[in-house]
Symmetry: C2
Subunit: 344 residues, 2 copies
């Protein structure tokens, strides 16, 4: 079984402002460890899929920064999208590239570059099991995460008929719920839709041809020209454009401390906190303070007698907010002068 990995690393975003900016997005930042999230992601895959069989998809601006932090990734494995075109197109392009190099039987594992995984061994074991299910059933396999809280920020998967190897068919994908509904979904045994997918490239491309008119004709017409392909597709997510339309979708449960590192507050989950619940990186000194998240890129930070704050220091700028408010940074950014918001 020839395993390939596809790492989606094109995201931009402002949820980790002032550290994350369009030219320095989250996946390039050392948020979960002392290495950038993308570097953590590649290291986590390495025992299962070596760099030679790992493709990283990103945008043109991030090509050089990614090569700088991931020098062992072959240059030919760093694919760039000329413009954002949705995950259906990105994964179709990656699948076609793997098909060209390794044929229809190659199995691709799809992950995002900016997640944290607490238990990498269990993560890889789950991917292996998912790959077996994909091979056996010619299925599109998603890894559904066993929920640890009634999170309203994720979609859920309701599993149906059991097949081999602990896998089930997907009964329905459930949209992001409200709080009450999220509690019901957790009680019901639904799983988080993580965005981890595993499939044979031939099977996936066949499903795209069968169900995804937004992407399939562009692939046929592009003749291997990425520029032409990405400019011809209609952007759609792989969930909406392929998985929700396919009848060959399976789910394998995963329980390995997956976190999408979505807000500053999530660092309290993915980094080790001190006895008082403070999470810090950089030269941080905390006295008589609780449940704070502090991140400094170099300057010293001293917290004294405060609680539940997020303090971020980068060269030239200090942000002080609360753990709750850090989830709504966009409201702040909309109100800031552009010179501050659009930091390099």
């Amino acid at each position: 079984m020839s395993l390939w990995a596809v790492v989606l690393a094109g995201g931009v975003g402002s949820r980790f402002w002032p550290l994350s900016t369009p030219t320095r997005p989250k996946q390039l930042l050392p948020l979960a460890s002392d290495h950038p999230l993308l570097v953590d992601t590649l290291a986590r895959l390495e025992p299962l899929v070596p760099a030679e069989r790992t493709l990283v998809l990103t945008n043109v601006e991030l090509r050089d920064p990614i090569q700088a932090i991931a020098p062992s990734l072959p240059a030919a494995n760093l694919l760039t999208e000329p413009q954002p075109a949705g995950t259906a197109a990105a994964l179709t392009w990656a699948a076609a590239e793997i098909q060209r190099r390794a044929g229809d039987e190659a199995i691709m594992v799809c992950v995002h570059a900016d997640w944290s995984i607490a238990d990498p061994d269990a993560f890889r074991a789950t991917l292996r099991r998912a790959a077996e299910v994909a091979a056996l059933h010619h299925g599109l396999v998603t890894v559904g995460i066993v929920p640890t809280r009634p999170e309203i920020g994720y979609g859920y998967i309701r599993a149906g008929e059991a097949v081999t190897g602990g896998a089930r068919r997907v009964a329905t994908f459930v949209e992001k719920p409200n709080r009450e509904r999220a509690e019901e979904l957790c009680a019901e045994g639904c799983l988080w839709n993580s965005g981890i997918f595993v499939w044979r490239v031939g099977d996936f491309l066949a499903e795209v041809v069968a169900h995804t008119p937004e992407v399939a004709p562009a692939l046929a017409a592009s003749a291997g020209d990425a520029e032409l392909f990405f400019r011809s597709v209609t952007p759609v997510s792989v969930d909406v454009g392929v998985l929700e339309r396919s009848h060959r979708v399976f789910v394998v449960p995963g329980d390995f401390g997956w976190d999408d590192v979505g807000t500053w507050a999530s660092l309290a989950r993915v980094r080790k906190a001190d006895a008082d619940g403070n999470t810090s990186s950089g030269p941080v000194h905390v006295l008589d303070a609780r449940d704070n998240v502090v991140h400094s890129e170099g300057n010293a930070v001293v917290l004294y007698g405060v609680e539940g704050l997020v303090v971020v220091v980068r060269d030239g700028l200090t942000l002080v907010t609360s753990v709750e408010r850090a989830a709504e940074l966009k409201l702040l950014l909309d109100a800031l002068p552009a010179s501050l918001r659009d930091l390099p």
Copy 2:
């Protein structure tokens, strides 16, 4: 009536850490306005006492920094103490210096370099009235501040028999009270012991000779040699060493927005707050936040959705604490590594 001013500018201290440090004490910092407190103090005195008749007492280390920020002060008017010797010795030395230059009749006004005064006109009018009382009664006149809150950080003055010009004899000096006692003292009409003193130099020196064995013999023996004088005295405050022992002490009430700028929280009183109670200096951006004190020496600071914090940013260091805890910074400093505590 020849008025002289004596400005005590020797204080060190850590209550405005990380901005204030031994080599950069509070009086050199732009805390109440955009100018250092000492510069504010000299400007406030200027319409009453020109720089030629103003003496500034400080320590050797601060001589150059003070000359740099107060270039109009004649070099001969900047007196240095070779070691901290208490306010009784400092004011005795200043009085003797004025006596040498202007004789016994000169009246000296004593203030500290690091206060804020909201109403400088009323301040100067009060000093004029105090000077008249001093001249008329050959008294040591203190200005007692009309309290605006039951402050436990100051001593109080209980006034006795009325004399001319709104002045009274001092009945007793009251030590710093607890909260309950402070409320009683305010209700009783006691005044804050500000440390503003006005007297004829001849009268003050006579009282020192009569009542202050810690200082008087050293003055007689030093023959104008400052080094010898300050090394020979026994340190004692002017309150304990002179005023509490003298029977010629008067108090004139003052109500001009005096503040000793004692903690970061005091900036909320002495600087103009925005509509949400935030006080800031430097490039500070505040959104949906209340009652914070923010001071930056240059780097941008963004506060979002937080309340009652003190945030101080100087080159290389950010302090985040609360308005309440800022009053106990010493506890923090005792716990910090020396490299952080003893910033230049």
